[in-house]
């Protein structure tokens, strides 16, 4: 049967064809080894905190002695967990064993991506705004756009760092060993560490994160609390912490984070949306300067994104410094240079190459994503994993990166609304874009500013990668030009401004006691 043979060959061919490509999709950090720091940074208690006056601002009481019945009961709690571990429990240990700062950063990136969606318009063509007091009503709170996200990453990372500095102080002070040291019959499912276990660094990170996220993502409390409980459980069943380690860490993390919550409530971000009077004034001011003002290219026209975000209190410098970092003006909208730059954008997008499209999409980080700051967190995290940093150094580096990104966002937004410069497509509507046009003025490019800043501080943290980070930042910046989103001036000046912001983080890094 010639035909049957033929069909059998087709069927076999199909099977091979499919087997070659049908696999479960695994994330890049799903299967990484447990964190096993090369250096436990035992003296990190003297590192310079960000908001805390010192590591003892929120005192941690002395732990119960390891020979008390209560402590022994806590050891037995671990043992009873360990007698019969399910696959899910082992998976929890593996997931959280990779690192507390890493996993909470990933969770935050996930929350940002989930919430980075512009609200749909009202029937009358106006737009609703999310309401923090009613976060689950549409449009859900928050709209985690790039400035919002940059600020969220910064607060979470900075609060984790301060809480860990305090934790390290008390770890060294009380020097209570891990349960598997006090009782060698306790199994340990993660790498052993010489780091004292009281208070638990994992509980500190988790608790600080949970407290910050209550403010930043109030509608996702169930999910966040589930992660919190899983994290603490993972530490117990791994034999890494007794319950009193976790409880002390939880109290400390929460107390420190509350200080950051208070700062966040008063950092002027809540007023960043502005109002119709301000939006009109921005437009009229640009006209009065003889420039074509920015207009929203969305239909219906959407109010500009967070026009007062440039007034938010930065972490690395004061408000006068923030203003001093604002670059000079873009080419006048009526100038020959602007005409040429607009034409340059048009020439890039007229017949985009596949490679340029790839670059645009790789760096787009638009609606529904973790935003450009989240992308730089992902880049950093994957490099930090290879470095085997201690949790406190992880937190310090993430805090430096994310404070830089937030402050870069502040300077960038200040610049955008100071000049209120139109997008290329506004000046030439035949410029079609390879990704969505963000709803705020062009000058200077946010991607370029974020990337220049991130590359500067990351190049300081991991010097052997500095050239790679610079190349990435340049590509991210270029992606906005070849994607039709920005003029060359926006990109070039953005990179420089970002780098200047990054210098403040580098200065801090050199003097925070960690180097």
């Amino acid at each position: 049967m010639k035909k049957s043979i033929f069909l059998a060959i087709i069927a076999a061919g199909s099977a091979i064809f499919l087997n070659s490509c049908k696999k479960d999709v695994e994330g890049r950090t799903d299967d990484i080894p447990a964190l096993n720091p090369a250096n436990i940074d035992i003296n990190a208690g003297i590192w310079k905190p960000i908001l805390l006056t010192g590591p003892t601002e929120f005192p941690v009481p002395a732990p119960i002695a390891v020979n008390t019945p209560e402590y022994i009961a806590q050891i037995n709690e671990i043992k009873s967990w360990q007698t019969d571990l399910t696959k899910e429990e082992k998976d929890l240990v593996k997931y959280w064993g990779a690192g507390a700062v890493l996993r909470w950063n990933e969770i935050l990136r996930e929350l940002v991506a989930k919430h980075n969606l512009p609200p749909y318009q009202n029937a009358d063509g106006t737009y609703p705004f999310p309401n923090a007091n009613n976060p689950l009503a549409y449009p859900q709170f928050p709209f985690a756009n790039p400035p919002y996200a940059a600020r969220a990453y910064a607060y979470v990372a900075a609060s984790q760092y301060d809480a860990l500095v305090a934790a390290w102080h008390y770890k060294k002070l009380y020097n209570r060993p891990a349960p598997y040291v006090t009782d060698p019959t306790v199994q340990v499912l993660i790498p052993r560490s010489a780091l004292p276990s009281y208070p638990s660094e994992d509980a500190v990170v988790a608790s600080a994160s949970v407290e910050m996220l209550k403010l930043l993502f109030p509608g996702d409390q169930d999910y966040i609390n589930q992660k919190f409980e899983e994290h603490k459980k993972a530490r117990l069943i791994a034999g890494a912490n007794v319950r009193s380690d976790l409880e002390a860490g939880e109290v400390l993390g929460k107390s420190v984070a509350q200080k950051f919550v208070t700062r966040a409530r008063n950092d002027r971000a809540g007023a960043a949306i502005g109002n119709q009077t301000l939006w009109t004034q921005l437009e009229n001011d640009a006209i009065a300067r003889g420039e074509i003002p920015w207009y929203s290219l969305e239909l219906p026209k959407r109010p500009p994104m967070l026009p007062l975000f440039g007034k938010v209190r930065a972490f690395l410098f004061d408000s006068l410094t923030a203003i001093s970092l604002r670059p000079g003006p873009p080419p006048s909208t009526g100038s020959e240079q602007m005409r040429r730059e607009t034409e340059e954008v048009y020439n890039y997008i007229k017949n985009p190459t596949r490679e340029n499209t790839r670059i645009v999409h790789f760096w787009a980080d638009g609606a529904g994503t973790y935003t450009p700051p989240g992308h730089w967190d992902a880049i950093a995290a994957e490099d930090f994993i290879k470095k085997n940093f201690s949790e406190v150094r992880w937190a310090r580096n993430m805090a430096l990166l994310n404070m830089t990104l937030m402050d870069a966002g502040i300077v960038c937004w200040d610049t955008k609304y100071f000049y209120f410069n139109p997008r290329p497509t506004q000046l030439n509507p035949s410029i079609k874009t390879l990704t969505g046009i963000p709803n705020f003025p062009a000058y200077i490019s946010g991607h370029s500013t974020f990337s220049g800043a991130a590359a500067r501080i990351l190049g300081h943290i991991i010097p052997e990668r500095a050239n790679d980070y610079d190349a990435m930042a340049k590509e991210a910046s270029l992606s906005r030009l070849v994607g039709g989103i920005h003029y060359k001036s926006d990109c070039e000046v953005g990179l420089i401004v970002g780098k200047n912001v990054g210098e403040y983080a580098v200065s801090r890094a050199r003097t925070d006691g960690a180097e």
């Binding site: 035909k3 696999k23 999409h361 994503t369 992902a378 969505g436």
Partner: protein
């Protein structure tokens, strides 16, 4: 001769045209041994409304999304019971409003083997049963992750179809069910959110199921049929409110349409095909309407006499 259009919208529901096979991988007609039928086809498709999940809406920042497809299709008879079919489309998409760039390029090569394994007289007519296997794969490095303007989804696919055809006099009905396996794809970004975060550039693509029913009139000169088609994605997720679509969305669509094929009296090797369809229900797809037209020519490659290539 033997071809008609099929409106089997298999994967590219966002573009609304699907892989247009003017060829007959989904109808009850076979080419004669050594006969090759080839022809170009043009399809125009557009939609203004789409389903965001189950919510039907329009989008002022897209306006009307249109897709032009130009394909070369062919059907070769290895024997009169076993045919091989192919299709190569060039696709161009465009949005009438907003700022998003149009996309264009050569899309996926599709190949089908169509085997009529049973034919017998029954119920006063003729019953035929078919098994059809298909493969498809991208022919160019086009972008999948730019919906709704992507020209395709990039999955390699393998499909298996069982089809029955009943013919009585000049009237017929055909019904088929198809399972399509879809490979994972890679996109240009390194992380994406579905209902959870994925830190990878690989996207798991849910498989799909197709049901197709057609009834009509079939003679040597003229074929006219009405077609119902349903594509159901077996998995995937809904587009969230005011979000962009994504390749692994749960894309479902049901359409109704008509096809006409007419063979020219003076030139029986040549036939003209035209048709149209419209989407009547959907999920995470555009509510597309299509019109298409094609011309096919039959060549006899056996080197023998120009024998007839009449159906069956």
């Amino acid at each position: 001769m033997n071809m008609r259009y099929k409106l089997f919208c298999i994967i590219i529901l966002w573009m609304s045209i699907g892989r247009l096979h003017a060829q007959t991988d989904i109808d009850g007609i076979m080419m004669e041994k050594n006969a090759l039928c080839v022809g170009p086809m043009a399809n125009f498709s557009s939609w203004k409304n789409y389903w965001e999940g189950t919510l039907k809406r329009d989008n002022l920042n897209l306006g009307t999304v249109s897709t032009n497809t130009y394909s070369i299709m062919g059907n070769y008879g290895i024997t009169r019971k076993l045919n091989i079919l192919f299709n190569v489309p060039y696709v161009k998409t465009k949005a009438s409003a907003g700022t998003l760039h149009s996309m264009k390029g050569i899309q996926d090569l599709s190949l089908f083997a169509k085997w009529r394994f049973l034919q017998k007289k029954k119920w006063g007519g003729k019953v035929s049963l078919y098994a059809i296997g298909g493969l498809s794969a991208p022919l160019s490095n086009y972008v999948a992750d730019f919906l709704p303007l992507s020209i395709g989804l990039r999955s390699k696919t393998a499909s298996l179809r069982i089809m029955g055809d009943y013919e009585k006099g000049k009237f017929f009905s055909t019904a088929s069910a198809t399972y399509t396996f879809r490979s994972n794809i890679e996109i240009d970004r390194t992380a994406y959110y579905t209902t959870e975060m994925h830190y990878t550039n690989k996207v798991a693509m849910p498989d799909g199921m197709n049901v197709n029913v057609r009834v009509g009139y079939r003679s040597f000169r003229l074929i006219a049929e009405a077609v119902f088609n349903n594509w159901t994605t077996l998995g995937g997720f809904d587009i969230t409110r005011n979000n962009m679509p994504f390749p692994s969305n749960r894309m479902n669509a049901s359409s109704l349409g008509i096809n006409i094929k007419y063979t020219l009296p003076p030139l029986p090797q040549l036939s003209i095909v035209a048709g149209g369809n419209t989407t009547v229900a959907g999920r995470n797809v555009g509510q597309a309407s299509n019109v298409y037209g094609s011309v096919f020519y039959v060549l006899n490659l056996s080197g023998k006499s120009k024998e007839k290539t009449a159906k069956n």
